[in-house]
């Protein structure tokens, strides 16, 4: 027993232990506060939680569920990246291989189901926040951050839709991206684009408009696939993660999860 105590003492006194945990075992309130403030994991947890914030019937747990599903998407998506190659030659067959020959290729199904669930959860979270009036001051800013996060969630869904590279994907993105033709001034069929000329030459045509920049060509092709892949795996998740950090931080700073008035 004494040996165990000595061992514990030796570990706690060692330089390695001290370098990681910074403060020792807290013995008074000041040290307890310091231990919480000086540790990233502990500081993530709120100091106090309202009783109403724990009521499922009030929060529906939809914000937390959305974040949890985002983490599921991150992990399963990372695993899929080890097998999926975003080229016209390989994309569809890599997707089929994930289903049929890759061990734990169920990651693909998990990724797809969690994606559908995340879109639903984000909408329900927004609905709950609206119905409980949780967008009111001082939370107006966070409502706006949340709306941007909703748009990013839908964009993640849209970009991911193309990656299986089957008929459904290609034609869905064809139809979806055709909406960009009607962009005012920047789409070649949009209002005002006809006025943008330079020396009689049209500036905005099918090979130079917003849709062209979006899908890297006049039709959906290999360029679109790699572009959507990069946006889906890197660009949009990065922006969404940054905004999520702001979103959660503001929840804490605005007084925690809102309670019934």
């Amino acid at each position: 027993m004494q040996q165990l105590k000595d061992l514990q003492k030796a570990i706690v006194k060692s330089q390695i232990w001290k370098s990681i945990f910074r403060v020792g075992i807290p013995t008074d309130n000041r040290k307890r506060a310091l231990a919480t403030l000086g540790n990233v994991v502990l500081h993530l947890h709120p100091i106090k939680v309202k009783k109403s914030g724990l009521r499922m019937s009030y929060t529906w747990c939809m914000g937390g569920t959305s974040f949890f599903l985002f983490l599921v998407e991150t992990i399963t998506g990372l695993l899929l990246m080890f097998y999926y190659r975003p080229t016209v030659e390989y994309a569809y067959f890599d997707m089929v291989d994930l289903r049929e020959v890759v061990a734990f290729g169920i990651m693909r199904e998990l990724h797809r189901w969690a994606a559908h669930a995340m879109v639903i959860a984000v909408w329900l979270h927004m609905f709950r926040v609206f119905m409980t009036g949780s967008y009111k001051p001082p939370r107006e800013f966070n409502w706006n951050v949340g709306v941007i996060l909703l748009v990013l969630t839908l964009l993640l869904s849209f970009t991911g839709y193309l990656l299986p590279w089957d008929q459904l994907a290609i034609w869905a993105i064809t139809v979806g991206s055709n909406m960009a033709r009607a962009t005012p001034l920047l789409g070649h069929e949009g209002p005002g684009a006809a006025f943008l000329t330079l020396g009689g030459e049209k500036l905005i045509h099918v090979g130079s408009d917003a849709r062209f920049g979006l899908i890297a060509g006049r039709t959906i092709g290999g360029g679109t696939l790699i572009r959507f892949y990069v946006l889906h795996c890197l660009g949009i998740p990065f922006v969404a993660a940054c905004l999520m950090a702001v979103h959660f931080w503001r929840v804490r700073k605005d007084g925690g999860i809102s309670g019934p008035v």
């Binding site: 034609w171 064809t174 139809v175 055709n178 099918v206 090979g207 130079s208 062209f212 920049g213 890297a216 060509g217 006049r218 039709t219 092709g221 290999g222 360029g223």
Partner: protein
């Protein structure tokens, strides 16, 4: 391309030599009035308020220009110069290869057009539904083009008659190449019925 200015927007911090020393309320020493900044001599790098501001202005202008240049370059970067797509203009053969009343589907897969010989005119109909861009199918038995996505239907001449589509199919430019007498189709030039462009002689070839 864009003229990118790289600038080291180094706005050095003022070291308070020109500003009066801040005196905390607890200070017990007598306040010494701040000395007037000396005139900048040939050696003296005296930082004046005005000098600092002008340097800051230069720094900010340079920084803004650099960021603007980067954003412009990024915008241009997203528009590819080389496309791995089928060419927009291609040859499809001679006029006698297309008998009257026949919708030729040989070029639909690779080039996205039907060559239709209808009512004495040879036209190249672009195989893109004018509703939302799906590829319709030619149904020989029902004598119509039918889109699988939302059910738009077109007659053999391309005029819409059913489904959600708002306007007829589009024609591509069609002409005879003077060099070898072959039919040349150019998809970059389109002719829309609703703008009265189907009367344009470039949108069809007269065949007997």
């Amino acid at each position: 391309m864009t003229d990118e200015k790289s600038s080291s927007g180094a706005a050095s911090e003022a070291d308070g030599s020109s500003a009066p020393a801040a005196v905390s309320p607890k200070a017990t020493v007598a306040r010494v009035p701040a000395a007037k900044p000396a005139q900048a001599t040939s050696q003296g790098a005296e930082i004046t308020r005005r000098g600092l501001f002008s340097w800051a202005a230069v720094g900010w202008v340079g920084f803004t220009a650099a960021i603007g240049g980067c954003m412009t370059a990024f915008g241009r970067f997203m528009f590819p110069n080389v496309l791995f797509e089928p060419p927009t203009s291609f040859k499809v053969g001679n006029t006698e290869d297309f008998p009257p009343g026949v919708v030729d589907e040989r070029f639909k897969e690779a080039n996205g057009v039907w060559i239709v010989n209808n009512e004495g005119r040879l036209t190249a109909l672009i195989a893109i539904c004018t509703h939302l861009g799906c590829p319709p199918a030619w149904l020989e038995a029902q004598n119509k083009f039918k889109c699988p996505c939302h059910g738009s239907g077109y007659y053999k001449n391309g005029i819409n008659f059913e489904g959600p589509t708002p306007r007829p199919l589009e024609r591509a430019k069609i002409s005879i190449d003077p060099d070898d007498g072959q039919i040349l189709v150019d998809k970059s030039q389109k002719y829309l019925w609703e703008q009265g462009q189907w009367d344009d002689p470039s949108s069809f070839i007269e065949v007997s």
